[in-house]
């Protein structure tokens, strides 16, 4: 399973990429492989404030709906319209075109509390 070293992770299989004060959030390669066939993505409303751990988006396979939790607190600044139109991007490019939403991070120090790639790799092994 692909676990990029520049990302941070949640035990519930979300990833976070920080650029400036903007965090991009998606689900990991491991998560998409477990779900298979992502057929629907529900994006959060832009402008919504979320706390770390809040269910913020929903990813659905044929069989089940899974909540996607906010890795850190912040304000939703974008949803990926491309993935809303073509949910299979979550399967084919989970760390790239399959990103789900972006947050303006409230407190950058929160990022340090998230799992790094080695910790996440150990978590899924």
């Amino acid at each position: 399973m692909n676990v990029p070293s520049d990302l941070r992770f949640l035990p519930s299989h979300e990833w976070l990429r920080l650029e400036g004060d903007i965090a991009t959030v998606g689900i990991t390669d491991h998560a998409q492989a477990e779900l298979t066939d992502v057929v629907f993505v529900e994006l959060p409303a832009v402008g919504k404030s979320v706390d770390a751990g809040d269910p913020t988006a929903v990813v659905e396979s044929v069989k089940a709906a899974s909540d996607i939790y906010a890795p850190v607190s912040g304000e939703v600044v974008a949803g990926n319209a491309e993935v809303e139109a073509d949910p299979s991007l979550v399967n084919t490019d989970p760390y790239g075109k399959g990103w789900i939403y972006q947050l303006k991070v409230k407190n950058q120090a929160d990022i340090a509390g998230l799992m790094d790639a080695a910790a996440y790799q150990a978590h899924i092994s």
């Binding site: 298979t36 066939d37 057929v39 629907f40 659905e60 396979s61 044929v62 069989k63």
Partner: protein
């Protein structure tokens, strides 16, 4: 999750990397690679399902036909040897205990295939009503079950059993190797169900895989049956609903002198049905509808809930079944399905949602 029963084919599923889940008290494959791929394989080519969890009862004896006619809704006298029919077993209130397929395998012997989740209840109910001259045997543990379904299922059969022939639709026969072959299925496609002694299960399974048939799990089995509008007991059928409410009146021979539940069906027929199981289809794309999601009118009043729901892989839109007040059951009635507070417009439509051979 304890005390799950295990299919005689489980080692073959694990070797294929299947995802196993609890279903109806059994540990069964929900998918191998992808529910969508497995679904499409059955619509376009051929797929094989493990149905070893399903139950098999043998009913025999000089009074077998007369007794079954009282226990079940359909008319057994219509069956010649080697043919089968869909039927329902009701309680005294007319509620559905189980739906099943009954085959006449001999002059006075019958082979019943019942739902996995209901084997115990069905057997107990039948034993409690048994009469002299009828012998009931639960052979469920003795048989592995395989369903081979799809437009190329017959061709696969010819490869695996070159010296045997398939019976006609709804027919049953015994093969030279001792397997029981039924020309039935739960997908709407051509195909057959093969009940084979447990010891031969994996060998027969592998022969079909070598013939190019794709292994398919319960996930695809569910989307395939729902596209046909076929009910699933526990979702769409229950002791709280009669088969008339479920739209299965054609399998209830009310002209028979008697069967358990008949009086209630006659009463419903004259006074009107309290609800009807309706097919609902999204008008646009939307979040996959699932069982228990509320069904509402356009102004938001809740009028029922989904008994079954799924994203239809063939139609790529949401489909579902729901018991609704008869006034809302007319095809074309516009309603909505509430998914986490979002309303997706849907309309009542005719079954099936999908006709085999149709290009979506």
């Amino acid at each position: 999750m304890t005390d799950l029963q295990h299919s005689p084919l489980e080692s073959a599923h694990l070797a294929l990397g299947a995802k196993l889940v609890p279903f109806a008290g059994w540990c069964m494959p929900v998918q191998y690679t992808s529910i969508l791929d497995e679904h499409h394989a059955v619509r376009r080519d051929a797929g094989i399902f493990d149905i070893s969890h399903m139950g098999q009862f043998i009913v025999e004896g000089p009074k077998a036909a007369e007794w079954l006619n009282k226990m079940l809704t359909n008319d057994i006298d219509a069956l010649t040897i080697g043919t089968g029919q869909y039927s329902l077993m009701l309680n005294h209130a007319g509620g559905v205990i189980d739906d099943l397929i009954l085959y006449r395998s001999g002059e006075s012997s019958y082979f019943l295939v019942v739902n996995a989740s209901m084997i115990e209840q069905d057997r107990t109910w039948m034993e409690n009503h048994l009469v002299d001259g009828v012998c009931l045997r639960d052979e469920s543990p003795s048989w592995a079950g395989l369903a081979i379904q799809g437009p190329n299922a017959s061709a696969a059969f010819a490869k695996v059993f070159p010296s045997e022939t398939l019976p006609p639709r709804n027919g049953i026969k015994t093969l030279v190797d001792g397997s029981v072959l039924c020309r039935t299925g739960y997908t709407g496609e051509d195909g057959f169900e093969l009940f084979t002694p447990v010891s031969q299960g994996i060998g027969t399974w592998e022969k079909f895989l070598h013939a190019g048939v794709k292994p398919c799990g319960l996930g695809a089995r569910d989307t395939l049956r729902l596209e046909m509008g076929y009910p699933l007991n526990g979702n769409d059928l229950s002791t709280a609903k009669t088969p008339l409410e479920a739209g299965l009146g054609m399998f209830c021979a009310l002209k028979k002198p008697d069967f358990i539940g008949r009086n209630v069906l006659l009463e419903q027929k004259s006074s009107g049905l309290p609800s009807k199981l309706c097919a609902l289809r999204y008008l646009d794309k939307g979040a996959p509808p699932r069982a228990h999601y509320p069904v509402t009118t356009l102004d938001g009043t809740v009028v029922g809930e989904l008994a079954s729901g799924a994203l239809s892989p063939s139609l790529m839109t949401g489909i579902g079944l729901a018991y609704l007040p008869p006034g809302l059951a007319k095809p074309g009635t516009e309603l909505a399905i509430d998914v986490r507070g979002r309303k997706f417009p849907a309309s009542v439509c005719k079954k099936p949602f999908y006709k085999p051979g149709q290009t979506a």
